[in-house]
């Protein structure tokens, strides 16, 4: 929406299939468009998503925010559909629709009944190639994106710290730039930039479709083929060839900003879920901070009462090099140094001693249960299929739980030693300032 998610938010879907395999059907149209279908008749709705394999990682310096701005402009009409009519047409047909941009992809979606989903299919096929992008709405929409940046980042202390930390943790890889873009870049983006980006990346061979819900696979395949099949294959878009060099030594950064409570966060470089170490890293994050019985929660929030909350996230579903993050919000009258010390002690422990068998089993149970709960939502399932497809192949979903089950305490110890190395991390602190406005 026109919304953008930080990739970290998407992580919560990692940990979620009912123990059996997803019965996903795959088809590829002649123009290269891949279609993934999962019938699920437990609710009376279908979610239809178009995933473009383009995000902020495909941008260049000076043009940050381009993928996201383009996403906004895809709601501004085609020769057939007037500006802003897309959302209205979907709503009049009883549907909810939106779009979001991440570092790795741009996704457009609607959820509606099986009788009406054809409307969405027609509209998405239309704007894959026919978006106008140059209407009178260009200038006001740029202002909207700038308001979005103020709302989500400038006036949000935690998000502002995350932006600064990514810029420090990644020296080379494009994940150093925020999805929404730097304010000065947004201001300078031109219509030509939008057109070039759209021409380069919006093509059937650089996208895939995910449909989950209450539909008939034969019927919907025919409709998709009818609408999208007539679109010409595009030139192969350029690959991102940048590689993040290994980090040799801790990096530290701070952000001073109007806020109430300090935040402390550490970003460790880790491989994505395509690595065999991904499963152990996932469990490590659960052991550290999932649930009130987790190590960080028990120590910092419960026993010592020096943090209001703790988080540990392994963002394995990213195309590029991933981050394992550990963060805590500091209790009033406590200091960030004390919190950082307490976290460091627990990280040191998990790198020195194997976790107990019951503790490991608990973490596996948490991941497996969350995997089942994640199937409650057709939208959530489509998201998960899309993320796995964009990072590896969707088939990886079906090896996820077996991979989790096979992890041993020795694996967790090994990955903790290897990756939670202070020399490979970026530490960031939010230092609250108050009352600076006159």
């Amino acid at each position: 929406m026109r919304i953008f998610f930080l990739s970290l938010i998407l992580l919560s879907w990692v940990a979620s299939a009912h123990a059996q395999n997803f019965q996903i059907r795959e088809a590829v149209l002649d123009n290269g468009l891949k279609v993934l279908l999962l019938e699920d008749h437990k609710s009376a709705a279908v979610t239809f998503q178009v995933w473009y394999r383009v995000g902020s990682r495909n941008e260049i310096d000076g043009k940050s925010g381009l993928a996201h701005f383009l996403e906004h402009m895809l709601f501004k009409g085609t020769p057939k559909i007037a500006p802003e009519q897309y959302s209205r047409i979907i709503a009049e047909n009883g549907g909810n629709s939106n779009a979001f941009t991440t570092p790795d992809h741009t996704v457009y979606f609607a959820t509606m009944s099986r009788e009406k989903i054809g409307v969405e299919i027609e509209l998405e096929a239309d704007r894959m190639t026919n978006a106008l992008l140059n209407g009178t709405y260009f200038a006001p929409e740029k202002m909207v994106v700038m308001e979005e940046r103020r709302l989500r980042t400038e006036d949000n202390p935690a998000a502002a710290l995350g932006e600064v930390m990514a810029a420090v943790a990644y020296a080379v890889y494009p994940y150093r730039r925020p999805v929404i873009g730097w304010m000065s870049d947004i201001l300078n983006l031109s219509r030509d930039d939008l057109h070039r980006f759209y021409q380069t990346y919006y093509a059937p061979n650089n996208a895939f479709i995910v449909v989950v819900g209450d539909f008939d696979s034969e019927n919907i395949s025919a409709k998709i083929k009818q609408e999208f099949g007539k679109i010409q294959r595009g030139a192969e878009p350029p690959k991102v060839t940048l590689e993040e060099p290994p980090q040799r030594g801790e990096r530290r950064t701070a952000l001073k900003k109007e806020a109430e409570l300090p935040l402390v966060a550490s970003y460790y470089h880790v491989p994505n879920l395509q690595s065999a170490d991904g499963f152990a890293l996932d469990l490590l994050s659960v052991i550290l901070a999932a649930g009130r019985s987790s190590r960080l929660y028990q120590d910092l929030v419960y026993r010592k009462q020096i943090a209001t909350g703790v988080e540990a996230d392994y963002d394995g579903l990213s195309i590029g090099p991933s981050i394992f993050s550990v963060s805590a919000q500091v209790m009033p009258d406590k200091g960030p140094a004390e919190v950082e010390r307490a976290i460091d002690e627990l990280i040191a422990k998990v790198r020195a001693e194997p976790v107990g068998e019951r503790e490991l089993q608990k973490a596996k149970n948490q991941v497996e249960a969350a995997f089942v709960f994640g199937q409650d939502s057709i939208f959530g399932q489509a998201m998960r299929i899309g993320q796995f497809e964009s990072v590896a192949k969707w088939q990886l979903i079906n090896s996820y739980l077996p991979g989790i089950r096979a992890v041993t305490a020795a694996d967790v110890l090994r990955v903790a030693k290897k990756y939670l190395d202070p020399d490979r991390r970026t530490v960031g602190t939010l230092i609250p300032t108050k009352g600076q406005a006159q």
Binding site: D40, H41, K42, S43, A44, A45, F75, P83, E84, R88, A91, E92, G94, G95, N96, T111, M112, S113, R114, P140, K142, M143, V144, V145, M146, E147, E148, R150, L151, E154, D155, D214, E258, A259, E260, L261, G291, R292, S293, Q298, Y302, Q305, T308, P332, R358, K362, N365, Q366, A369, A370, V372, F373, Q375, D376, F379, P432, K434, Q436, A437, Q438
Partner: protein, 450 residues
């Protein structure tokens, strides 16, 4: 276990509804246990999981004066110690099952939500019954929660949207429990003590003031049998929880709060209507056109699309059981705060004067009716929905009559409710911003003499 079923009676059985093409059926059923607990179930067999949602009339409006925040702390402490388990034992049990159990507190009701795998249902119900009937409120856990709540009150201050919301509600419902934050203040939280918590728990945490909704891979009969067994120790309390509150709305005013921000966070609004109000549905249709309809709404078109003034702008009539509020909420760069307010107020006047077009009315009705099943597309949504349906006494046939009522709303209705329930002369305006840059005039320059 079968014989326990005799202890209950079936109050209502609703017919099957929703699209016959999918397997989706709510088939909600209701029963009242002997201890007075209302149980609503919906069997959903697709996944081996169960979601349980409890609503109980133990919200902040029942707490004693000077102890504001007590109800919230009571709800938070439910999972921090019972007669047979410590806080750590409770979290170890839940985490080992991979289950989630959370508690929350509102003005009217406290709530408990639990999601677990079907195989763990008995363990979960046992734990749930324990926290509702045998919580012990250990002294050291009380201290810990008080610290934690005081910290969260502090943390809320760094979210300008929340700062605006707290101030708006306080100004709208002065001297009313509806007007103060459920968390209380740092001062009132410090005064919360163990005897007070135990007294509150003994009085309000009673099955005859609660609605328990069970959605998932469990039949009505099985749910009733298992609940009957697990919840037998939970004893019925007194009949009445006290008279309904009648909050009087505060006077119109403009409140400016200064913070070092890039955006002005603006809320403007006034009193709304309670959920049972006869015009509730017509108001919802009217509000969809004004500002509730996402990208289809007038506020979105005029403030975001045409002028680029905001990323998010919407209006809402939020109904509670005994009161309600109307509010427009938006964020815009400090410098355009005055313009955004002027445009929003103008839209309110416009719909009061001209009503809506036939196309707008049709679009609103088509969305509200057509999207209704999307509000029920997960077990969790169904659980929350059925709890609300019961709490507001809407009847389990609500999904059937809702489209009929919406379909009947006319253009005349829209104009009538806009004139009556939108009251621009009564607007309370809260602006959290860098006030130097916002430079709002007093009185506000709305072109309408506000």
């Amino acid at each position: 276990m079968k014989k326990l079923a005799l202890l209950f009676f079936l109050a209502f059985v609703a017919p099957v509804f929703l699209s016959p093409l999918s397997e989706a059926r709510l088939s909600p059923r209701k029963a009242i246990l002997q201890n007075g607990l209302t149980v609503v179930t919906s069997e959903q067999k697709a996944l081996p999981m169960v979601t349980i949602s409890l609503l109980i009339e133990a919200g902040s409006r029942f707490e004693p004066e000077g102890r504001e925040g007590l109800a919230n702390i009571a709800a938070r402490l439910l999972t921090y110690g019972t007669k047979s388990r410590t806080a750590l034992q409770i979290s170890e049990t839940l985490d080992f099952l991979g289950a989630t159990l959370s508690t929350a507190c509102g003005e009217e009701a406290a709530s408990v939500s639990m999601t677990l795998l079907k195989k763990d249902l008995d363990t979960g119900l046992q734990l749930l019954a324990e926290i509702l009937s045998a919580s012990t409120f250990p002294a050291e856990e009380i201290d810990r929660q008080k610290q934690s709540v005081i910290a969260s009150i502090r943390a809320r201050e760094e979210d300008p949207g929340q700062v605006a919301q707290v101030k708006f509600i306080a100004t709208l419902f002065p001297k009313s429990p509806y007007g103060r934050p459920v968390e209380g203040t740092a001062e009132s939280v410090k005064r919360v003590d163990r005897p007070g918590l135990l007294e509150f728990y003994q009085k309000y945490y009673r099955p005859n003031h609660a609605i328990l909704t069970v959605v998932g891979d469990v039949s009505h009969q099985e749910a009733i049998d298992r609940l009957g067994k697990a919840f037998r120790p939970w004893e019925k309390g007194g009949a009445s929880v006290g008279p309904a509150p009648r909050p009087a709305p505060g006077a119109p005013t403009v409140i400016k709060i200064n913070k070092d921000l890039t955006q002005a966070n603006i809320i403007l609004g006034h009193e709304g209507v309670p959920r049972a109000h006869p015009d509730y549905y017509a108001i919802q249709v009217m509000n969809y056109i004004l500002g509730g309809g996402g990208f289809s709404s007038r506020l979105m078109e005029s403030i975001r699309n045409q002028r680029g003034l905001a990323y998010s702008v919407y209006s809402a009539f939020e109904p509670e059981k005994y009161a309600g509020s109307f509010q427009v909420s938006m964020q815009t760069k400090n410098e355009s705060a005055g313009e955004a307010i002027r445009v929003a107020v103008e839209e309110i006047y416009k719909i009061r004067e001209q009503g809506a077009t036939e196309e707008e009315l049709k679009a609103a009705k088509d969305y509200l009716i057509g999207s209704f099943p999307l509000r029920l597309d997960t077990n969790r949504k169904v659980a929350v929905f059925l709890s609300q349906v019961e709490f507001f006494s809407l009847g389990l046939d609500y999904p059937e009559y809702y489209p009929v009522i919406i379909r009947a709303v006319t253009r005349e209705d829209v104009l009538r409710v806009a004139k009556r329930y939108l009251q621009p002369e009564k607007l309370i305006v809260v602006v959290v911003a860098d006030q130097t840059k916002a430079a709002l005039k007093t009185p506000l320059d709305t072109g309408r003499g506000l």
